[in-house]
Symmetry: C2
Subunit: 443 residues, 2 copies
């Protein structure tokens, strides 16, 4: 009665088994590359969906619903008979025994692809891990969105001007793409659809402040684009501040180097990421930023059967810079690893991985972006249309269903009101809104 | 700096103040009726959104996302300057002092409209409150949906046939509209888009069973419609059982009168509702089903300034039957109370409330429904098109934005895959899926 596929680790078809840990961009593209080939692929993730992380900030800013950027992993591989999807958390690797430990027991592998991504890095800033909102996963974006809405609710019911001001101040730490995009989207939400719902709140009571330690925003892009981003953000009422270092984050305030205090109930931390610290205990060589060191072919030194892709992998480009932790690197690495596994099975030599940089984009708002692509720079509405076109094309290819995309584009281009709900399941946040103040941001 | 509207209960415009407790259909329509008139309306709800409850079962069955049936209350009253929306829980009424107690402090009222709805009633069945899933609010629908999906995940990883069977058995208690609609939608989900994602699960391992104590389904509709519904459900692989009484619900099983046991991890309770027990302590006359007794004009006897609308109000029709607890009654009552308040203010006599019954509909699946409207009965696809048309018209009127509706109709008519995500914020349910079994349905 029970088909063999259900019998967990016990199944043995005699074909080599590739276990892929993580259904992010890297793992997903590795699995896609291996689909339909004579290998058994087991794709393990602790979530039953893949998240399109480049648009995560739009979920946090209530521009999109979580379902707009997530896709059930099983549906992606529905027609791939050799890809088995498992809902489980990967907890360790036993390289000697060729086994992966998961919350659902261990899995034997012939080849292992680790694509477990990265986590927020607070660089030891006092109080950051306790009091700031990270913005790295869906689990971060939804509580953050609920908290922002709850702060508006609390402010509307709050007579004390000082408390209102604190509830309506939103600090974003980190002037990289995520910080810039989130600050821009948050200002757009507030000064667009949100304020008209709160007639008792004056727009001058609201402050979105972006705090960057360096001397410009978007430091990985050409300098004039960072300058343009700062100007556009300021026009949209974002106080973009450069050269400020966050010393500590405490309940109700951010302390800056020099002693200045910003009174706020909402600090969003986008200033750094690192490889999951748990991986450090797995016996693999770990380098800068907690990333696993990989060779030419993306395999781990001393473990030719283990590959690492995406944010978790540490690899330098030809000029000695570490590859950026972005979706395109993960996708290209996932594809490369899939092909190298197939080459090995055919007895062919592995090919070294070379990253083809398609460029970078960052969006400041619904008609302004900056782009550095094809070796050229673009800004303003041209860059925004470029961004929109690239993402629409990408999503069409990714989801393989133009229908679903209509939904996304629709929700994004028109403001969809319904994403501004404080939905159940996040009782802590809703409870925070019930209290006079919502002063427990990280609850 | 702070506009007066923000100053909570302290504001006094000199105009009479109507406090409306609950933004369900009754409260919402009362507020709409009073919008633009010379009264100050304060609409209090513990959620920041109104829920279109007639479609709640579609959220539980992953046919719609929560945002498809919810709408931010503030947006509805954005252009109504005299309607103030508060996010707070109503905790009591001091009729003597003319004050409502809320989680955000007390509110003085001249007129009070109570539209707090109903809660699930388990009739004291052993273990029901502890182990069954209610299906009454958004807070119920989302955990239930996540649990169903988590059971499929757990079954796919479970080798033991007996345990698999238990994970794949779904019992729905109650053969009224909610039970019939949810059982039909659940079967449609499973045998439609869900099973193809789980190649290791055989469709014969899945069982949806509907348990009704009476001798027919949909007892408030003409008998042949209940018979038709049972036949159609059985064709859709729902085991619709009549004349069975649930004796107890225990972890992993339902015990029926006569001793039969149904082994299942999922029991959904749709068999009864009652007025919120908390209201019983507020000093108002409470009758059958915990509902507050109201007079002709829907005011509470002895308290001419307090009105009750919707599920919480007890009122009989001309033939001595209590009015049903459905959206249409609440809407008509909300409107009637709004008008009676305005009449009182003009010094005119109140008008007694008369319910105009527009009929009843229940959907069995995407092309089958039963309807009893305009004094006639319809079934099959004709009834389904009728249902769809009525709800589309209703939603257009309700949301006042055809655009949003496109989204709803689109998501409903095509199966939207993305609603089958096990999203964060419900860590207990996701954790259940991580364990081999998910045997704690009500966690």
């Amino acid at each position: 009665m029970v088909p063999p596929a259900a019998q967990g680790g016990a199944r043995d078809t005699g074909r080599p088994r590739v276990v892929i840990a993580g259904a992010g961009f890297g793992g997903l593209w590795a699995a896609r590359t291996l689909a339909g080939h004579p290998v058994d692929v087991v794709l393990v993730d602790r979530r039953n969906y893949h998240t399109f992380l480049p648009l995560l900030y739009q979920v946090a800013a209530a521009e999109l619903g979580p379902t707009d950027i997530a896709y059930p992993v099983r549906s992606i591989f529905r027609s791939a008979a050799n890809v088995d999807v498992r809902l489980a958390e990967v907890t360790g690797v036993d390289a000697h025994a060729h086994e992966v430990d998961t919350s659902q027991g261990s899995l034997r592998y012939d080849y292992l692809v680790l694509g477990l991504g990265s986590v927020t890095h607070y660089f030891g800033v006092e109080g950051a891990a306790e009091h700031a909102f990270p913005l790295r996963w869906m689990d971060d974006a939804i509580p953050l969105r609920h908290h922002v809405l709850a702060c508006f609710e609390a402010a509307a019911a709050e007579p004390d001007p000082e408390r209102r001001r604190r509830l309506l101040t939103f600090a974003v730490v980190g002037g990289g793409p995520t910080g810039v995009e989130f600050a821009g989207a948050l200002a757009e939400l507030i000064h667009g659809p949100l304020l008209p719902d709160y007639p008792s709140i004056d727009r001058r009571e609201v402050l979105v402040v972006l705090l960057e330690m360096g001397d410009r925003l978007l430091s990985t892009m050409p300098p004039h684009l960072g300058g343009y981003a700062a100007t556009r953000l300021r026009k949209r009422r974002v106080d973009a501040r450069l050269g400020v270092r966050v010393e500590a984050i405490r309940p109700g305030e951010v302390l800056l180097a020099g002693g200045e205090r910003i009174r706020t109930e909402t600090v969003v931390w986008t200033a750094g990421i690192q490889g999951d610290p748990a991986v450090r205990g797995w016996g693999l060589p770990v380098g800068r930023g907690g990333r696993v060191l990989v060779g030419d072919d993306l395999s781990v030194e001393g473990h030719p059967g283990i590959y690492v892709v995406g944010d978790l992998a540490y690899r330098e480009d030809d000029s000695g810079h570490p590859l950026p932790q972005v979706a395109q690197v993960a996708i290209q690495q996932g594809r490369a690893v899939g092909k190298n596994v197939l080459r090995k099975l055919r007895g062919e030599p592995a090919k070294p991985f070379h990253y083809v940089d398609p460029g970078m984009l960052a969006v400041i708002g619904r008609n302004a972006a900056v782009a550095h692509v094809f070796g050229r720079t673009f800004k303003g509405i041209v860059a925004w249309i470029l961004w929109l076109t690239i993402h629409i094309t990408w999503l069409i290819g990714f989801r393989n269903r133009a229908l679903v995309l209509v939904n996304w584009a629709w929700n994004y281009v028109f403001f969809r009101r319904s994403v501004r709900l404080i939905l159940p399941g996040l009782r802590a946040e809703v409870a925070a809104a019930d209290r006079p103040g919502c002063d427990a941001p990280s609850e």
